[in-house]
């Protein structure tokens, strides 16, 4: 299939991305992020959820979350590459927000051909945030697995695990199993019978929780049977958005460490002089560039409906995941003692990268799936 010029990344997308970059550099430089999520530190901390809800409100007012909502539902109707560019900037800022979840929900809902889904997309365009609650207690990556049951009257019982930014999102998009298969449902955060039990997580820029459902009434957006299809169809887009976040965070780690290597003097030389620092930083740059190019390519493939979009998106996530671990590891190591402290901003991105690498499957998982596509299945 012929791909569009420039990954379909045109003037509108560039303008949106540039405004996002300015927004974060004005509103959430790393020192402010640290003050927000790490400064008031409790060593025996409970499950924190520190974020700036006002900043998020501004983001929705700027139309970022409306970007990929179809024009028919009141959105801007931009391609996935626009969301990818925004996610890359958010990752570069370590932005604590329900942005990834809202993008994920957007692409899932776009695959649900129901009025309720269209209405939910409209709500997103108007600023409502969402997150997915589609993972069971064992962290299964199979869209068909869920610990939530839906009864005939559309009420949910059970639990959803590893729900990202659960205390930031306004609504949840839940997969639940009914008699005829898996359907998708929306529940408001303050719904009766819903409990949000926060996890204590390592990442200081996110929050995560277990949702408990006790006969909770829900809005059906995909009927039983159609839910799994919609989730699977949205997987390539979700992988792209998450990979872009990791690319942005990786670039922050690279540039911050390079800056440190330019200025920190040891043995009478800036440490960037030493190839033991210089060459791994170059290798990290290569890993980031690979992840970035694969991500934009995969997003473009999604936008044009290419057949191999899942293969290309898995490549992007596999590369982004291994890069993510490397970026954090080298940034801490090359910052030396300082990099090992809570005070240093590096730790926030280090942890965000570790968290991101396992979301939606790590590098190993995706490479195993890719092997089937690229080499052929293992003989029985």
């Amino acid at each position: 299939m012929e791909q569009p010029k420039n990954f379909g990344f045109g003037e509108d997308e560039a303008m949106l991305r540039d405004s996002a970059r300015r927004f974060f550099s004005d509103n959430l430089p790393a020192d402010r992020l640290h003050a927000l999520v790490a400064a008031e530190f409790d060593p025996h901390r409970a499950n924190q959820c520190k974020w700036d809800a006002d900043l998020w409100k501004q983001v929705t007012e700027l139309g970022w979350t409306a970007a990929c909502v179809p024009e028919a539902e009141g959105g801007i109707g931009m391609p996935l590459v626009a969301a990818v560019a925004l996610a890359e900037e958010a990752g570069r800022a370590g932005f604590p927000s329900p942005m990834l979840g809202t993008f994920n929900a957007t692409f899932v809902l776009r695959g649900c051909d129901t009025d309720a889904a269209r209405a939910a997309l409209g709500a997103i365009a108007e600023g409502t945030s969402m997150t997915l609650a589609v993972t069971n207690s064992r962290g299964s990556l199979n869209a068909g697995d869920t610990d939530v049951q839906v009864d005939d009257s559309g009420r949910l019982t059970g639990s959803a695990h590893f729900v990202q930014d659960a205390r930031k999102a306004d609504r949840y998009l839940i997969s639940a199993r009914g008699a005829n298969g898996v359907g998708l449902y929306i529940v408001e955060r303050d719904a009766d019978g819903l409990t949000v039990a926060p996890d204590v997580i390592v990442d200081v820029t996110r929050d995560q929780a277990i949702l408990g459902f006790d006969n909770v009434s829900a809005l059906e957006v995909a009927p039983p049977g159609a839910g799994q299809t919609a989730l699977e169809a949205a997987l390539p887009a979700m992988l792209c958005v998450l990979s872009a976040d990791m690319v942005g965070a990786g670039e922050w780690l690279l540039q911050t460490t390079a800056e440190y290597a330019r200025t920190r003097v040891q043995f009478d030389r800036p440490i960037g002089f030493f190839q033991a620092i210089k060459h791994p930083l170059v290798n990290l740059m290569v890993e980031i560039d690979n992840a970035k190019s694969l991500t934009y390519n995969a997003a473009c493939a999604v936008d044009i409906g290419a057949e191999d979009q899942l293969t290309l998106a898995r490549m992007a996530k596999a590369q982004a995941s291994s890069m993510a671990v490397y970026s954090g590891s080298r940034a801490v190591q090359f910052h030396g003692g300082i990099g090992f402290t809570w005070e240093c901003w590096v730790q926030m991105f280090f942890k965000r990268q570790l968290h991101s690498q396992v979301l939606l499957g790590d590098a190993n998982h995706h490479r195993r799936q890719l092997a089937d596509a690229l080499i052929g299945p293992v003989a029985a």
Binding site: G139, N142, I201, G337, F340, V358, R368
Partner: protein, 414 residues
């Protein structure tokens, strides 16, 4: 498999038998509280006291400081510390808490202090009654040890000390610090001198100790500020201007390449239930057998299996390398394997912990303070803490320089 016994001298054999017997009867059992992964992370005073009483018992039984002369509180034996360490490890004892004192303080004091000061300092160091810390790192110095800015100025029979040290592990409990500082600005290397300085007794009188928080959220190390601390000249080690030479004694012992073997106890699993040991690839295999990934056991994923086996191989190689260092006929260069040891073990631990996180999948997102975390969240904690050891004591980048220069004779990178 162990060939420890096979090579024992008569003195070692007799000592080993007594040690084994004593340990069988005197293991302190499980602690009444949760201990951190290593002595360097101890921040709870209750944990300190429990560990200190274990060290005292081991010292009284002759298992700590065995090879030091009796005059300075040692056991007066020959090559018995190795035996003691082997037996304590085999008996799965808790670790020794005065780790900086034993590993760096004791040999430095022993080889460079005045006789009466050795007799004052060493017995309480061995017993753990007095905790020691170390003052090498400074905010601007990093791996360049000779770049010390903390200054000691002579004032008659005293020295007045001003400066700022960081990463001073255990300083919040320490009675004494071994301190490298500058006594002359004219010469980078010959302008350094080495002291033992009081910490606990001098707090508020020229010494301030402030905790630093690690990226894990744990404390355990500190920064120490000196503001006109006055100490007597008898606290000086070796000559004025000989600080670099003394520091080399400290570093050689830190890298397990010094003359005195460091007393080391350990082997007690931190978590009786899980049996997690972040040093042991068998823990990884167990984790993989217990962990589901995408509906399959992680232990059934061949690519992960391959990664786990690589850890087994590296771990076994490390053990066998140590064994080979005791066979002069199978060594190419006396320092070749000993100088590798810190670098290898720290990178192995880092890679094992990183692999464990990938085996855990989404479970790895949970903090050790979350009860649901697989293996009590110890792998994530271990992963982050390994950066302490790949950085501290000369980064592993510096270790590679040292190996390339000393063992392979390559030109100095400076």
């Amino acid at each position: 498999m162990s060939d420890n016994q096979a090579s024992d001298t008569p003195e070692q054999a007799e000592f080993r038998a007594r040690a084994r017997e004593w340990l069988a009867a005197n293991h302190p059992g499980r602690p009444p509280l949760r201990l951190p992964q290593g002595a360097l992370e101890v921040s709870d005073p209750h944990a300190l006291e429990w560990l200190r009483s274990w060290q005292k018992a081991a010292y009284d039984a002759g298992l700590v400081g065995c090879d030091y002369p009796t005059q300075v509180g040692g056991g007066g034996r020959t090559n018995c510390q190795t035996v003691a360490n082997q037996e304590m490890f085999a008996a799965k004892t808790p670790y020794l808490v005065n780790v900086i004192g034993l590993g760096m303080g004791a040999p430095t004091v022993f080889f460079h202090a005045q006789e009466e000061m050795k007799q004052q300092w060493l017995p309480k160091l061995f017993s753990g009654e007095e905790i020691w810390c170390q003052g090498f790192s400074e905010p601007g110095a990093g791996s360049d040890l000779a770049n010390q800015q903390t200054f000691a100025e002579r004032d008659g029979d005293n020295w007045i000390i001003n400066g700022h040290k960081v990463w001073t592990t255990l300083a919040h409990f320490a009675s004494w610090m071994i301190l490298l500082c500058r006594t002359s600005k004219d010469d980078k290397y010959n302008g350094l001198s080495y002291f033992v300085v009081p910490i606990k007794d001098a707090i508020g009188r020229g010494v301030t100790v402030r905790p630093l928080i690690k990226m894990t959220g744990e404390t355990g190390f500190n920064e120490v500020l000196f503001d006109g601390l006055v100490i007597p000249d008898s606290y000086r080690l070796d000559e004025v201007g000989a600080g670099w030479k003394v520091a080399m004694t400290t570093l050689a012992h830190e890298r397990n390449a010094g003359q005195m073997i460091t007393p080391a106890s350990g082997g007690m699993p931190l978590d009786e239930g899980s049996g997690v040991s972040t040093n042991d690839p068998a823990s990884l295999a167990r984790l993989a057998r217990n962990q589901l990934r995408d509906g399959k056991r992680a232990a059934d994923d061949e690519a992960l299996r391959d990664e786990i086996v690589k850890m087994f191989i590296r771990s076994e190689a490390f053990r066998q390398n140590r064994r080979r260092t005791r066979v002069p006929e199978l060594r190419d260069h006396a320092q070749r394997i000993p100088l590798q040891s810190k670098m290898i073990v720290t990178e192995l631990q880092q890679d094992m912990a990183e692999l464990a996180l990938r085996i855990q999948g989404l479970g790895s997102t949970l903090s050790f303070t979350d009860d649901k975390a697989p293996d009590a969240g110890q792998w994530g904690l271990a992963y982050m803490n390994t950066f302490g050891i790949t950085i501290a004591g000369g980064t592993n980048e510096i270790q590679r320089n040292i190996l390339g220069e000393r063992v392979l004779g390559l030109a100095k990178t400076k």
